[in-house]
């Protein structure tokens, strides 16, 4: 049972890394708290649902479609909202409130358009039969979700460390002012990072019906809390630090569900508060973090 909980935790943790990844990238580059992240994920899940049920696209094909679509929507959206926000005195606080408003709009529109019933995609579209590993039987959907998440982390790493655009992104993360002074087009880089963040949320959303169960317009809030727990436990503003947070969260959650199932829901909140209180300066301080 312990081995299964640990193994399942690592797999689940990979998926939670994917959930936190985009949020953390956006925060790292723009110092913006995207409270609507969970709702973007929800939209990705609905896109996958409709692409499957109306057009018959499998999630593997829906994933790149959703990612490109969300990326292209993210660019104009950035220019519409963020530069104006950055002018304000307390941009970080205002961004929290602003994106909360956006979250409410998305959730309300989704409820009006899609209705509030629970939707799901049959698990067999990912292939049939569980995986066997270390003598444990693992759900196929979970293993595939984890593999996709691992792929996304590696792709983001390659982007940040092996492309010119990634180098500029890291420069903006390290110091916005100095990046501006050295002639980097901050808004172009930030818009790109913002759009990548949305695309990653969309990707996580495509596999949400298999990993999180059924999909409803109201699912965003709980996804958000989990995503925040993951990135705060990991390392705020450092996208790759998300991996640590995701794994701790996944293993913790599965251990709780195995041994103290009645109290498992408490875990993300306690983890979040505990880490914030134990290391407020280490995790939250305005120290420059190099990605």
């Amino acid at each position: 049972m312990l081995v299964h909980a640990l193994l399942g935790g690592v797999i689940y943790g990979c998926y939670f890394t994917l959930i936190g990844l985009g949020l953390n990238l956006v925060f790292g580059v723009m110092r913006i708290v995207n409270l609507a992240h969970g709702d973007v994920l929800m939209l990705g899940a609905f896109a996958a649902f409709f692409l499957f049920h109306l057009v018959g696209l499998s999630p593997f094909i829906a994933a790149p479609v959703v990612m490109v679509g969300f990326f292209l929507l993210g660019l104009p959206f950035y220019y519409l909202v963020v530069p104006r926000l950055a002018l304000a005195k307390d941009a970080e606080m205002l961004s929290l409130i602003l994106f909360f408003g956006i979250q409410q709009i998305i959730e309300a529109l989704a409820a009006i358009v899609f209705g509030s019933s629970e939707r799901s995609i049959p698990g067999r579209v990912l292939g049939v039969g569980p995986f066997h590993f270390l003598g444990q039987t693992l759900s196929r959907a979970w293993v595939i979700g984890a593999a996709i998440a691992a792929g996304a982390v590696i792709a983001l790493y390659l982007y940040l460390y092996h492309t010119r655009s990634g180098l500029l992104t890291r420069a903006v993360m390290a110091s916005r002012d100095e990046a501006l002074a050295s002639g980097i087009d901050i808004h172009r880089i930030s818009a790109r990072a913002f759009a990548i963040g949305l695309a990653l949320a969309g990707l996580a959303g495509v596999f949400a019906p298999f990993m999180l169960g059924s999909v409803t317009p109201a699912m965003g809030v709980s996804v958000n809390l989990a995503a925040f727990a993951v990135i705060i436990v990991g390392s705020l503003g450092n996208p790759l630090g998300t991996v640590a947070g995701g794994l701790i969260y996944g293993v913790g959650l599965l251990l709780m569900q195995t041994y103290f199932s009645a109290w498992a829901d408490l875990l993300p909140n306690l983890l979040l508060i505990g880490v914030l209180l134990a290391r407020p300066t280490g995790l939250l301080g305005r120290r420059v973090r190099l990605a």
């Binding site: 909202v81 961004s95 909360f100 408003g101 979250q103 409820a111 809390l225 925040f228 407020p280 939250l284």
Partner: protein, 302 residues
């Protein structure tokens, strides 16, 4: 004091007289409740800049403090109301370390704390103490008129408090600490301890509101007592009117909660859509609320 006499007292008087001409007392009670909560939130957000997203945690703690006092101690309502305030105060003391965090982290950690309190109280494992997810029933102390009166008394106290914060020494110290903590500390203002006092006051207000809510409603579930939209409403009403003023949050509650009752009850999604758009518009175009429209023209908004 002048602000309280010109703005606060008339509001209390109007809500004291309205039940004579308007029959829906529950609706009036909800207005009073949100007036209290918006001003309580104003006390911490308006005057220190800390935005408690989990403000409803104190409200819920108050509601359950009241319920537990009635169920297990057979306390009379007045005593239970004090214990409700005490419950929120104790919770706020436990959560005081959160004030070390700043900005968005404080807001998120506070939200997580409120969720954690909810999950503990609603946990079926604690059914013997809190009745878990099945809710509490306090029919033995049900008294709609007395509880409405109590809510009005709390509202009067809270309005007087905020009026005092605006012009009193303590409130000015808070505002200085909000605008520039370093300079304020250099000028000899105990920034941290005054902030903690504001935090406790604000929690106490929400606890009393929760207690009087439990008394008036008398049957409720943990998800009503810890409903996140209570926090959200209080925040939006305060922001819309203008934080750190006395009349701003009042205007916010009357206008927006009025709007909510006109269109919101039948199709909550449409109201959610409207207030989402309202928040976005506010942050982008009017970040300091309705009051700033007048303040820009040099009017001193009470």
């Amino acid at each position: 004091m002048r602000d309280f006499l010109s703005v606060g007292l008339p509001v209390v008087a109007i809500f004291a007289l309205l039940p004579l001409v308007y029959a829906n007392q529950l609706l009036l009670f909800n207005f009073v409740l949100f007036l209290i909560l918006a001003q309580g939130l104003n006390a911490i957000y308006g005057f220190t800049g800390y935005l408690p997203f989990g403000y409803v945690g104190f409200f819920g703690a108050g509601a359950y403090g009241f319920a537990l006092a009635v169920m297990h101690l057979a306390a009379p309502p007045a005593l239970a109301l004090l214990l409700a305030g005490l419950a929120a105060l104790v919770l706020a003391m436990i959560l005081t370390p959160l004030l070390r965090l700043s900005g968005a982290y404080f807001a998120i950690a506070n939200l997580a704390a409120a969720q954690a309190v909810y999950q503990v109280i609603a946990n079926p494992a604690l059914q013997d103490i809190t009745k878990g997810p099945y809710g509490v029933s306090l029919a033995s102390v049900f008294a709609p008129r007395a509880s409405y009166g109590a809510a009005l008394l709390i509202l009067a106290g809270v309005l007087a408090l905020v009026a005092w914060l605006r012009h009193g020494r303590f409130g000015l110290a808070l505002q200085a600490g909000r605008d520039d903590p370093v300079s304020a500390a250099m000028a000899g203002i105990p920034v941290v301890s005054s902030r903690i006092i504001a935090w406790l006051i604000s929690a106490l207000i929400a606890g009393l509101a929760g207690g009087v809510f439990a008394w008036h409603i008398s049957v409720f579930y943990p998800e009503t007592a810890f409903d996140l939209s209570t926090s959200i409403f209080a925040i939006v009403f305060t922001l819309f009117g203008g934080a750190a003023t006395l009349s701003g949050p009042i205007a916010g509650v009357i206008l927006l909660y009025g709007l909510y009752n006109l269109i919101g009850i039948s199709v909550p999604q449409y109201f959610q859509l409207i207030y989402g758009a309202l928040i976005v518009g506010l942050v982008l175009f009017l970040p300091r609320g309705l009051a700033s429209l007048l303040q820009r023209r040099g009017v001193d908004v009470p």
